[in-house]
């Protein structure tokens, strides 16, 4: 499944191994530090975003949230959210129908 080849390319660009398992990707991506992680894989709109925003709101400015999700509507949604509200999207990547996103609280 080739949802978004551009993101897959970026995935490679940040040095992540092309593993089949998103979890192992995460474990090995130690260079991207985060302060809090939420796993919303398998949940549907609006849950992934609702939980992410709730977690982000509870964090301090400059802290990084790591989100694991599968809802296909959500990846682009995170990009729009970051661009329009000033919370920074540090990295987003796609792997085997799952996505991971790093967001920094503004």
């Amino acid at each position: 499944m080739n949802l978004n080849s551009e993101l897959a390319g970026r995935h490679q660009a940040i040095g992540m191994p092309s593993s089949h398992d998103i979890q192992s990707c995460v474990k090995r991506s130690k260079h991207m530090n985060f302060d809090k992680e939420i796993d919303v894989r398998g949940l549907f709109c609006p849950y992934p975003f609702l939980r992410s925003k709730k977690a982000l709101t509870a964090m301090a400015s400059g802290q990084v949230l790591h989100v694991l999700l599968t809802d296909p509507s959500s990846l682009k949604h995170f990009g729009d959210f970051a661009e329009l509200t000033g919370n920074e999207l540090l990295e987003s990547a796609e792997k085997d129908k799952a996505f991971e996103v790093y967001l920094m609280r503004k």
Partner: protein, 415 residues
């Protein structure tokens, strides 16, 4: 970067890259909204309009007749066939358009949500069915199409939808903190790779089938079928566009309260800003009668219906149109939502009609009236198009200003 573009002869790579851009990568919601307006205006030029609830209600009527509730709900003995009923046909072809887009992008996937989400989908569907009955239409017929037809009933439902989305979000947040049960996601169903690899071919098959069906009816020599040929193409186009741009009215109403992000909201505002003045030209040149798509629900029905519908769409995770295209992408949650939406819509319509609330009467001004409101039309209320267009523009501008201000300040978020 693009594995599929690297195989095969080199001249093929350019075509494959274009295929990815058009059929695989998501479109901007602004493009989606503008294209949707083009289809809506095309329908209007053909003397038609876009609505979804009427078709869903027909499906619910069939179900209620089958299980013996027909007489109790006052349903007619013979119901129109789902393929001939105009809105039902538009829903079916919208589903096919979104299904086709999902196949071409290789994004079709049977998705099962956690157990609790099925319950919220059913509950949300029921609220949407009730809301659409009260407002005389869903987010399309009750809000979008009514607003395009310069009716304040669209804006009364808009106010209700905003309030309903806010209430729904608050309720959903409460459940998030108090209900632990049933939020464990089931394992993902993997579609066989051999099947996924022929998705684009299947998608092409759907396109060819639609063309053959539409052309067959359009050139059938039967006036009734010819009109339905246009509906087939329009419904298909709308489903395709909505899937490609992931157009979502639920997101447009909910998101400013949730994350403050207003991309989808602004896309809907842009679409209306284009559609309303162009539609007014069609009404002024008498290409179409505006009243055919104005519900007799201003303002009580529109407002209350909007609130109920707004709560429902937040719980279901999709409005009427959004639920349909997500159904076609394989999300079982939205199958449940649409089932209950259609069923409750039929039940609520039957009961409210028998209670006398939504029985239409024609007034001396030759407009329809129910106990929940009347067919309100800005140009009649303001005695001309100047103030009528000004009223719509003012609301759109206010909506845009609030959403844009909120994006920077998060003043209206409820989290």
């Amino acid at each position: 970067v693009n594995a599929s573009a690297e195989s095969g002869p080199s001249w093929l790579a350019g075509f494959k890259a274009d295929y990815e851009t058009i059929f695989v990568e998501g479109w901007s919601p602004y493009l989606g909204s503008v294209l949707l307006v083009v289809v809506i205006l095309g329908l209007m030029i053909s003397g038609l309009f876009w609505g979804i609830f009427g078709g869903l209600k027909l499906w619910g009527d069939w179900l209620n007749s089958a299980i013996g509730l027909g007489p109790a709900l006052g349903l007619p003995e013979t119901l129109e066939g789902p393929l001939l009923h105009r809105m039902s046909l538009m829903n079916i072809t919208l589903l096919l358009g979104a299904f086709c887009a999902a196949l071409l992008s290789r994004q079709f996937q049977i998705n099962r949500p956690p157990k609790l989400e099925y319950i919220w989908a059913a509950l949300g569907g029921c609220f949407m069915g009730l809301g659409a009955t009260l407002a005389g239409g869903c987010n399309t017929g009750g809000f979008l199409t009514a607003a395009i037809h310069s009716s304040p009933s669209g804006w009364a439902m808009w106010a209700g939808l905003l309030l309903g989305a806010a209430i729904g979000l608050k309720l959903l947040l409460w459940t998030l903190e108090h209900i632990e049960w049933g939020m464990q996601a089931p394992p993902t169903l993997n579609m066989p790779a051999s099947l996924v690899s022929i998705y684009p071919l299947l998608g092409l098959g759907v396109v060819l089938g639609i063309i053959a069906w539409a052309a067959g009816w359009y050139y059938s020599g039967n006036e009734k079928l010819a009109v339905r040929g246009i509906i087939i193409v329009a419904g298909f186009a709308m489903g395709f566009i909505m899937h490609r741009s992931r157009l979502c009215f639920a997101r447009a109403f909910r998101e400013p309260f949730m994350t403050a992000e207003g991309e989808m909201t602004k896309a809907v505002i842009l679409g209306l800003a284009i559609a309303i003045p162009l539609a007014s030209l069609l009404f002024q040149s008498k290409v179409i009668d505006p009243y055919i798509a104005i519900p007799a629900t201003f303002w009580v029905g529109s407002l209350l219906g909007g609130v109920a519908f707004g709560i429902g769409m937040v719980f279901a995770g999709g409005c009427a149109s959004g639920s349909l295209w997500r159904m076609a992408e394989g999300h079982l949650k939205l199958w449940v939502a649409v089932f209950f939406f259609a069923w409750t819509g039929s039940v609520a319509s039957g009961l409210l009609k028998q209670a006398g609330l939504i029985v239409k009467e024609v007034t001396i001004e030759e407009i329809e009236e129910t106990r929940l409101g009347y067919q309100a039309y800005f140009p009649v209320m303001f005695d001309g198009w100047g103030w009528a267009l000004f009223a719509s523009a003012a609301i759109l501008l206010l909506w845009y200003a609030l959403v844009r201000y909120n994006e920077s300040t998060e003043k209206f978020t409820l989290l």
